[in-house]
């Protein structure tokens, strides 16, 4: 089991470093983001984060998860990215790492443009604050989410 995991992690790191080994290709990718390439990298990145979470390496997992949002994402991938942000937020919360969950949500929010996505992030932040028994802050987050949903503006 351990060897399988180490092979998986090594291969992921290898493929993850490929763009740096071949800068010409990565430059092309940066200019015109290809959804399938980014998704492929993100899939690996997701697995890395999940492995780190399983090993309770939350801080490292947070770093890796943040990298996922900093990839050159096409705009049409925002719903998938949002799903991922909420999923990881839930995972951190389950590991009693509410502050990390908030950090992840705040970092990921920088990469969302749609008011509906931002509203979802605010709601999740509110949920995390609610779990931390900080009801006032939770209400403030939900208020902002409600505003975004009703006005449709940032």
């Amino acid at each position: 089991m351990k060897s399988a995991l180490s092979i998986l992690v090594t291969s992921m790191l290898f493929f993850g470093l490929m763009p740096f080994a071949f800068p010409g290709e990565s430059a092309v990718a940066a200019q015109a983001p290809d959804s399938s390439n980014v998704r492929s990298l993100a899939e690996s990145q997701h697995e890395i984060v999940m492995l780190l979470l399983k090993k309770d390496a939350y801080e490292q997992a947070l770093v890796e998860a943040n990298k996922l949002f900093e990839m050159k994402w096409p705009e049409d991938q925002e719903p998938v990215l949002l799903k991922e942000a909420l999923y990881f937020a839930g995972q951190f919360l389950r590991g009693n790492k509410a502050s990390m969950s908030l950090s992840l949500l705040e970092n990921s929010a920088k990469h969302f443009k749609k008011p509906s996505s931002l509203a979802a992030i605010w709601k999740e932040k509110g949920y995390v604050y609610k779990q931390m028994n900080q009801d006032e802050k939770a209400l403030e987050c939900f208020k902002e989410a409600q505003r975004l949903e009703t006005t449709g503006t940032k």
């Binding site: 998704r39 492929s40 993100a42 899939e43 997701h46 697995e47 999940m50 998938v80 799903k83 991922e84 999923y87 839930g90 919360l93 389950r94 709601k123 999740e124 509110g126 949920y127 609610k130 939770a138 209400l139 939900f142 208020k143 409600q146």
Partner: protein, 182 residues
């Protein structure tokens, strides 16, 4: 007694308003002081002149009737008793009452509005929290099931419980970037 003190009380002396003792003092001074005696004589002459030339002027009846008519109009216009107080001040009282009522109504309306919006917000929050709790619980169960099946080496197929539209997964957990996971 000096001249200044005497001059102060000279008019009162002439009118007979001083105490006998004070009057005797004034009299003694007037006997000694020619200047004050002269002053006293001037005052006495003036008083005598006024008294001899004063006569009552009869009030013309039309003036008196006019005054009476005006007074009676004012008295008739002002209701007696408790109501007069309010009636004469009603514009100011009404303005004050209206202003107070407006402030009160606005305050109550603002408070109720705020309470309602807070209640809506709490409801909005509770709805999300309940749904999210259930979702995370299902997610946890799905993860546990995936982990158990993976550890047992059994390819148990199960539906992704957090997304009813997702394709069935074989042995792994949620990964939104996997093509069959969308």
């Amino acid at each position: 007694m000096n001249c200044e003190q005497c001059a102060d009380d000279l008019t009162a002396y002439l009118d007979g308003e001083l105490t006998p003792r004070r009057a005797a003092e004034i009299r003694a001074h007037l006997n000694e002081c020619g200047s004050c005696a002269s002053e006293m004589r001037g005052l006495a002459d003036s008083a005598a002149f006024l008294e001899s030339n004063t006569k009552e002027i009869p009030l013309r009846p039309e003036i008196w009737n006019n005054v009476k008519a005006q007074v009676s109009t004012m008295v008739a216009a002002q209701p007696a008793g408790f109501f007069s107080f309010w009636l004469w001040r009603w514009p100011r009282v009404a303005t004050t009452v209206l202003a107070t009522a407006s402030v009160l109504v606005l305050g109550v309306w603002g408070y109720l509005n705020y309470e309602e919006s807070q209640e809506n917000l709490r409801h909005y929050m509770n709805e999300y929290v309940t749904a999210r709790d259930a979702q995370l619980q299902k997610q946890g169960m799905a993860n546990a099931l995936a982990s158990a099946s993976s550890n047992a080496g059994v390819g148990i197929k199960f539906e992704r419980m957090d997304n009813p539209f997702a394709e069935p997964l074989t042995d792994t957990y949620h990964n939104p970037f996997r093509s069959e996971d969308e």
